[in-house]
């Protein structure tokens, strides 16, 4: 069980929210520490070295966005942001600054622990082997540029292969349109999300059992995509 020993740092200036999240995660088997602002969170992060950070975005002085960018400068640890706002620009900014996922308030603990589990699972498995990797229903051979889904080889164009390779390497993370376009097509293409939509639609036709109800490549409305290979 991943949950047995994993350490989670919870950051929010609302004492009741940190208490509830702490008790919920502790009951799921995680070790939890809380911090009530960005600077004490950073101190805790340096001394305790958590496996995952959950942070609110709106905090006084040193907010969640600052914290994401400061932690990202130190470590690749998964960061999950909590946001009371539904506005996409804030979420996109957090993701661009290094957050891996977000959960909108109010949330149930079942949803939060599922996201925590997914992020920890992803960080626990090595991303790449010598020539490929096998995760969930997907097997990818990087040398031969071949992808198998549920044991069946799938023919992909070179760009589709690059795209699935990037999604697989960043599985369970929310990826913004900008991040995907920059990684697969180069930074000059980052202003063309329509371009990406066409490729994702084609990939879904090739990979999904029902492309209209995708199981692997999920849309995060107005933000981007999340790839869940299992």
């Amino acid at each position: 069980m991943i949950a047995d020993t994993k350490k989670v740092l919870v950051v929010d200036d609302e004492a009741h929210i940190t208490l509830v999240v702490q008790r919920g995660l502790e009951s799921a088997g995680y070790q939890v520490r809380v911090a009530n602002d960005g600077s004490s969170a950073l101190q805790s992060f340096r001394s305790w070295l958590p496996d995952l950070v959950i942070t609110d975005l709106s905090m006084p002085a040193f907010d969640g966005l600052d914290l994401c960018s400061r932690i990202r400068g130190l470590s690749e640890v998964p960061i999950l942001v909590l946001s009371v706002k539904d506005d996409e620009p804030t979420k996109v900014k957090a993701l661009d600054l290094g957050a891996d996922d977000y959960v909108s308030k109010p949330f149930g603990m079942a949803e939060l622990t599922a996201r925590v589990r997914a992020l920890l699972r992803r960080s626990a498995v090595p991303v790449e082997g010598e020539t490929g990797l096998e995760v969930g229903d997907f097997k990818i051979n990087l040398e031969q540029r071949v992808v198998e889904v549920r044991g069946n080889p799938v023919h992909l164009t070179p760009k589709e292969f690059d795209l699935i390779q990037f999604l697989l390497a960043n599985r369970s993370k929310v990826l913004t349109h900008k991040a995907i376009l920059s990684a697969v097509w180069g930074s000059s293409s980052s202003e063309q999300p329509e371009y990406l939509r066409v490729f994702v639609a084609n990939l879904r036709k090739k990979l999904e059992l029902d492309p209209r109800a995708p199981r692997y490549i999920k849309t995060e409305p107005w933000i981007g995509y999340r790839f869940d290979p299992e």
């Binding site: 609302e14 004492a15 009741h16 929210i17 208490l19 509830v20 999240v21 008790r23 919920g24 009951s27 799921a28 009530n36 602002d37 004490s40 709106s58 006084p60 907010d63 909590l82 009371v84 706002k85 539904d86 308030k105 109010p106 949330f107 149930g108 603990m109 079942a110 939060l112």
Partner: protein
Amino acid sequence: MTLAAVTMILAVLPGFNQTAIALVLVLLVIVVAVTAGKGPALYVSILAGLVFNYFFIGQPNSFVINTLEDAVSFLIFIITAVVVGQLSSRLEKRSLQAEELLRSEQLKTALLDAVTHDLRTPLTSIKGAISTIRDRGISEEVRLELCEVIEQEADRLNRFIQGMMDLAKLEAGQLALESKNVSAEEIIEDALHRAEPLLARHRLQVSIEASLPGMQVDPRLISQVLYTLIENAAKYSGAGTMIGVSARRNGNSAVDFAVTDDGPGIAPELRAQVFQRFFRAGARPGFGVGLAIARGIVQAHGGVILIAEGNEGRGCCVHFQIPYGARA
């Protein structure tokens, strides 16, 4: 006078013919239209027409127009000046209306964000606590702890709604005080009991002057004022810092309540504005009506509320004074 002077100066300068001077006069009309509005623009247009006529049309230094050509020149100048002036004024008015609309839209968005924050924050604690109690094997101790969170956050939501109702009543002048004789100690005790979860990360110093006389006030509302000040102090000052709550005599007629903190303080130029509705100092989310309601309640009791420097020039100190025999 200015028009005449400008026209005469231009007339003697080389390179300025009749057309150029007419254009300069129209420009003056535009400036007046944009800065002063429609009426003054019309007035200046007619005046410019007369000046132009006096110096340049027909016989010099005379209003007499002899030929049809001069009459047409005069008419065209007047029509152009009036039309341009009125259009410029209308354009300026529309631009101001558009700015006003944008400000109103921005305010609406900010208010919506603030309401969203003030409602969703307690809902998050409640939903998280309920789902943990329901779905997971937790100890009795944790269950009780989470039940307490639910109760306190439900009270917080209720206070938010009560605050909105108080604000509406204050604005309509319909806030009815349910006055009773209470002591400053009772008021402080009630406010501190409600603020207990907010103060968990701060040090608290309470000071109440001995033998303070009782006050004839609405205890719920005065306690709400004190709670708002403590909530702000806890919100804006860092963990581990001191929050002071005090009550003492103010002369022979009033009790002075004060809440001090070691936070960033409020700049002197913002101290009056913080009591306005929807004003928020700093980047903290919130509805921005707490101090507006507090001031309304204090004034309804015949008192005053003001902001001063905190201890040794640090932080903030909010005082409010309530007369002993406040309005019933």
